[in-house]
């Protein structure tokens, strides 16, 4: 089938009162961004509350649909066939050809839905509905009309050309990125954090990220892995500004000064502080982590309470009640799983104690942190100043 355009259906945006144009414009931008990487030339337009992707010249259909399926805010993608307006008889033939190529002689119920964007078309919509319906019934003996609950909604739009479409490809849903502010994602090399970034982004949030690098404990390959993960989710989230923080000296200092079973909690508290610093610097409205209750010692309710306490900014944890397998399923679906499981050490596992605290008390942790008073501010400052920023897209 020679599809020459796509009608983009959007879900939730439709209900956003006066701000609706902002949401639509964001959607248009995101569609253009996604299609920039596809072979072909596209024109993305908005008219009368409908978004169209018009194709100019040759293009790759499958790649185009794949790209559109990754644009948050799209509820469904309808591939459209264009025909010239050469009178009603020609239109009947075109419609019959369309039905034949799309559905063959299979048994279906259908309804015709004509819409005249061009009001100077000589036949009224209702009349044309009936005429086309009759034509189809005559030509396809297995087709039946059902106006209430049709299997096939055959849409015919009379514009400069005539648009015919009936298929719907499911989009990712959600809201277009750029409609909900920005958040700072704590991105490790694991399975969870890329999924967390994806999920928050799905609600329209732009994402920047921070990664804690601990050479010589973590390697250049571990860092490359995180850059790759950022690139993989940027397909959905749009460009990501990735902050690579050298965390080694802070980690070693904590190791020197604090009880070893508290290392992970204390370390994570400083990670949150640094992440919050960059979040403020980049006008983010919150932090995002991949934490899920009870997954590891540092993610018990007690531990989360301790790490949360250092932040003034809200911390969003979209995976908080997810089982590991559910997270794995999403990471496979969005394409980050294979990268996530590459076997490079990340900075959280370097000094994991055999029996880390699972019920840390904030009072005790804070008492331990007093021992860091001498140098920690200086080390934090250095870590922030030496942070490398990588633009990922």
């Amino acid at each position: 089938m020679n599809y020459k355009a796509f009608l983009i259906k959007y879900g939730e945006i439709g209900v956003k009162g006066k701000n609706r144009y902002l949401f639509e414009n964001a959607l248009l931008n995101q569609i253009r961004y996604a299609l920039a990487k596809v072979d072909g030339e596209f024109e993305v337009t908005k008219e009368q509350g409908r978004v169209y992707v018009e194709v100019i010249g040759e293009y790759d259909y499958l790649d185009t649909v794949d790209a559109l399926k990754r644009v948050f805010g799209i509820a469904a993608i309808c591939p459209v066939v264009h025909v010239e307006d050469s009178g009603k008889e020609a239109l009947f033939e075109d419609v019959k050809k369309y039905i034949k190529e799309t559905y063959g002689q299979k048994e279906h119920t259908f309804k015709v839905n004509v819409r005249r964007a061009r009001k100077d078309y000589p036949i009224k919509s209702m009349e044309l509905n009936a005429m086309i319906g009759e034509q189809i019934l005559e030509a396809f003996e297995n087709m039946k009309v059902d106006v209430h609950n049709p299997e096939i909604m055959l849409n015919i739009e009379i514009r400069k050309k005539i648009y015919i479409y009936s298929e719907e490809i499911k989009g990712p849903g959600g809201m277009p990125v750029g409609t909900a502010g920005k958040a700072m994602l704590l991105l490790s090399g694991g399975i969870d954090s890329p999924v967390a970034g994806y999920m928050v982004s799905k609600r329209g949030v732009e994402i920047d990220a921070v990664y804690f690098h601990a050479p010589p404990y973590t390697s250049e390959r571990a860092k490359q892995k995180v850059v790759d993960l950022a690139r993989e989710i940027s397909v959905y989230t749009g460009p990501i500004k990735l902050h690579v923080v050298n965390f080694t000296d802070i980690q070693l200092y904590i190791y020197d000064q604090c009880p070893h079973d508290e290392l992970t909690i204390i370390m994570r508290r400083y990670m949150m502080k640094i992440a919050e610093h960059f979040a403020n610097e980049n006008k983010c409205l919150g932090l995002v982590t991949g934490e899920s209750i009870g997954q590891v010692a540092s993610q018990t309710m007690y531990s989360l309470a301790c790490t949360n306490e250092v932040c003034e900014m809200p911390v969003y944890r979209p995976l908080i009640a997810f089982d590991k397998q559910d997270i794995v399923d999403i990471s496979e679906k969005i394409g980050t799983y294979e990268t996530s499981i590459l076997p490079f050490e990340d900075c959280c596992t370097i000094f994991v104690a055999k029996h880390p605290v699972t019920k840390p008390s904030l009072k005790v942790i804070k008492r331990s942190e007093v021992k860091l008073a001498e140098k920690i501010d200086e080390l934090m400052k250095t870590a922030i100043e030496t942070t490398e920023v990588i633009e990922v897209k």
Partner: protein, 385 residues
């Protein structure tokens, strides 16, 4: 300073070699099988390389089969020798410290009905002649033992092994994996009882994707790779002329002034060991004595520090080494060689390999020693629990 001490993983291609290779890609790029002049020119480069390599082994040119490298040479030699000799028996002998391109090939043969004996090594990583003698059986058809171990540099007395094998039964084929030793030692296959000998190009400053198998002219087996019948049918596929010519030149360069170059490496090795072993917590694996070890490989264990951390810390200072033996993959796996020499369990994951080439100088070695010691002093207290 940048100090590349991972020459057992791979080496830098020599400038002359790279120049020649480039010329054969852009100017004399013919296919040796083509009948025209350009094809003949290419054929002559292959002949020249064959002659150069044969000269280093005092072998005949037709005994050299060019391959894609050490792994292919080992596969070709072991698999095809085993199948060629199948009617005489199905017993093969090898050691416990072979490179995966040998040990995994042996596994494949075991799956195909052969029986393989894996010889133990002593604490220095040496296969003992007495053990080999005991393992030989009437149905033994093939012995495959490496000349120099790639992880700890232990040197095997292959000429003695050759004698033992051929005295027992001259029909048993003797294959030597010489990937770490070619270009460091004079090897005379005909006098050492060696029937098959594997060499890799990129370990001797030739391009990756080059290598050869020496096959004694009396040995006959079927090819592993079938096709247009190039190289007397032993290895089909259009000859990789640039790499082959580069390999020939690199081989010649390795054997020019061989003694002088290995003497230099031996001195550096001895200097490194002397300066390193005095530090508490640092120990050297394999033979300390220069006569029993390859001149270019030094295996060092750091008590209480993971090898990966040492590797990356050295990397930050421009020094490049391997963790254990990283020749095969990124995946940290426990080294079979280190297990075979009964290395202390705590040191298995704390061992780093430094490997030299003929151009390393004392200044670089001093830089490596000083930085290694400094790093060890800084990080050894941060042990994982």
């Amino acid at each position: 300073m940048e100090c590349y001490l991972d020459n057992s993983a791979t080496t830098r291609v020599k400038k002359e070699v790279a120049d020649l290779t480039y010329k054969l890609m852009t100017q004399d790029y013919g296919n040796p099988s083509s009948m025209h002049l350009i094809g003949m020119k290419a054929e002559n480069y292959v002949k020249e390389a064959r002659n150069q390599i044969a000269a280093t082994l005092k072998a005949k040119p037709l005994e050299i089969i060019f391959t894609s490298g050490g792994t292919e040479s080992n596969n070709l030699a072991i698999i095809q020798a085993a199948f060629a000799k199948k009617r005489s028996g199905n017993h093969i002998i090898t050691s416990k410290i072979e490179h995966p391109s040998v040990s995994n090939t042996m596994k494949y043969l075991e799956e195909n009905g052969f029986e393989v004996t894996y010889l133990d090594v002593d604490s220095q990583g040496k296969v003992l002649a007495s053990e080999l003698e005991k393992a030989l059986r009437p149905d033994t058809i093939l012995v495959s033992i490496m000349h120099v171990n790639n992880e700890i540099g232990s040197l095997m007395p292959i000429d003695e092994f050759g004698k033992i094998i051929k005295n027992y039964n001259k029909n048993i084929l003797f294959h030597v994996d010489a990937i770490q030793s070619y270009g460091k030692y004079n090897i005379r296959p005909d006098r050492m009882g060696i029937d098959l000998l594997s060499v890799s190009g990129h370990k001797i400053h030739a391009p990756k994707g080059s290598g050869f198998l020496y096959k004694n002219e009396k040995v006959n087996f079927k090819p592993l790779i079938h096709g247009g019948g190039q190289q007397e049918g032993y290895r089909s596929g259009t000859e990789n002329v640039p790499a082959i010519a580069g390999l020939g030149l690199a081989a010649k360069l390795m054997y020019d002034n061989l003694d002088e170059k290995t003497r230099n490496m031996r001195e550096l090795r001895a200097f490194f060991i002397e300066n390193m072993s005095a530090t508490e917590g640092i120990s050297i694996n394999g033979p300390l004595n220069n006569d029993e070890a390859a001149p270019h490989i030094i295996s060092v264990s750091f008590k209480g520090m993971r090898s990966e951390v040492m590797l990356h810390a050295l990397e930050e200072r421009g020094i490049y080494v391997s963790a254990g033996s990283a020749c095969s993959s990124n995946k940290p796996a426990i080294s079979k060689t280190l297990l075979a020499i009964n290395l202390d369990k705590d040191l298995l994951d704390s061992t780093v390999r430094y490997s030299l080439n003929g151009d390393n100088n004392k200044e670089e070695i001093i830089y490596a020693i000083e930085n290694t010691k400094e790093i060890y002093a800084k990080y050894k207290k941060y042990m994982r629990h």
